[in-house]
Symmetry: C2
């Protein structure tokens, strides 16, 4: 398992409720891909959402996000953490 930071663009105006619903949609199916979404942070003005997860691979992260209806624009392995 490894850590990943993914980025969603074009989310301008996202609300707290929409972020919570999107995260809940990921959590509902993440076990099927052995993914664990830990946190998400949104900048509604720039339309950016960052998600931190633990997963077997970037493709597993993307499969969950795609099935939940919000594919990521970038997925980065982040092996280094402080």
């Amino acid at each position: 398992m490894a850590k990943f930071m993914d980025v969603h663009r074009g989310m301008t105006g996202i609300t707290e409720e929409q972020l919570r619903e999107a995260h809940a949609a990921d959590l509902a199916i993440q076990d099927e891909e052995q993914v664990s979404f830990e946190h998400a942070w949104a900048d509604p003005e720039a339309g950016l959402v960052y998600c931190l997860s633990e997963a077997p691979g970037a493709d597993a992260v993307q499969r969950v996000h795609e099935r939940a209806g919000h594919p990521a624009d970038e997925i980065h392995p982040v092996p280094l953490t402080v």
Copy 2:
């Protein structure tokens, strides 16, 4: 106080030790700007570092990063968190 996610580019090949040293340099002076750096995540292959902080403003985050020798390329307020 608010939460911020900042992004550093061009950090290709960054090592665990370099990330730890850079973070320590921020921590050493962050109190002077009322900034609290909570985490940093690095993708050495893409050369990306993401830092999560709590601060009075993006300018305070940047002042700490600049004085520590590694100005951020982007600093985003992230008022929404899950």
